[in-house]
Symmetry: C2
Subunit: 150 residues, 2 copies
Amino acid sequence: MSDRPAIHDVRLTDLFRFEDERGAVLHHLRNDDPTFTGFGECYFSEIVSGAVKAWKRHQHQAQQLAVPVGRVRFVVYDDRDGSPSRGALDVVDLGRPDDYQRLLIPAGLWYGFRCLGDRSALIANCADVPHDPEDNEIVEPEDAPIPYAW
Amino acid sequence: MSDRPAIHDVRLTDLFRFEDERGAVLHHLRNDDPTFTGFGECYFSEIVSGAVKAWKRHQHQAQQLAVPVGRVRFVVYDDRDGSPSRGALDVVDLGRPDDYQRLLIPAGLWYGFRCLGDRSALIANCADVPHDPEDNEIVEPEDAPIPYAW
């Protein structure tokens, strides 16, 4: 577990990789992990080279993110009333081999991501509750009150 | 839901894909899906072009498999005592865009897979219980009593 994230309750956890000449085995999340709070849905978000998907915020859903393919920059911003880290911003790059980690983004935080490098990347998310359109807030980068330029 | 698999309790389910110029969103498994029986662990198995990983069998763990990257051939063999489909063998190819489906392999079946095509593929698995080395049987292809040549 890294202590890099500045935002309260954001967690970055080293994940096990087993390299094999036929292809690696890569862990993501187990139900006995200290950060596991439930399984709602697993889905994937592909992101093409240079593309940005931002900003998103969920009132109830927490994200458990890993990047098994390619390399992705995540930016997380804390605008939560009463948060001890309100105003903090984290930038976390994930990808193999050196940064194969799981990023936990709790509910209530703004986040977005950009594909780094020259090939598409794949993000896997084991969210703690299933996707609910009512819980899903999206703001275009130019309209967001977030001190970060993509 | 397809009725293609010949083996009792093997399930093949069409999955939602949302195409986007920045990269697709790809569903895998929700906790309210009719085939969901619990969340033990999510992990990924990468498989390089032409490689085979076979044969595996679990006494207790069921596999919920999707292929978000590349194309993979799965072979499943039913050698279960008392199964109504004992002796049956299923061959299922998964991959986008035409075969983006989830393959449920219940506990007790032999299975293996080969990467199809000229690039590495990624298999994601939302298994219903966490990995347990005691539950994990592996037999080399040449030693397995299975009527399939990789």
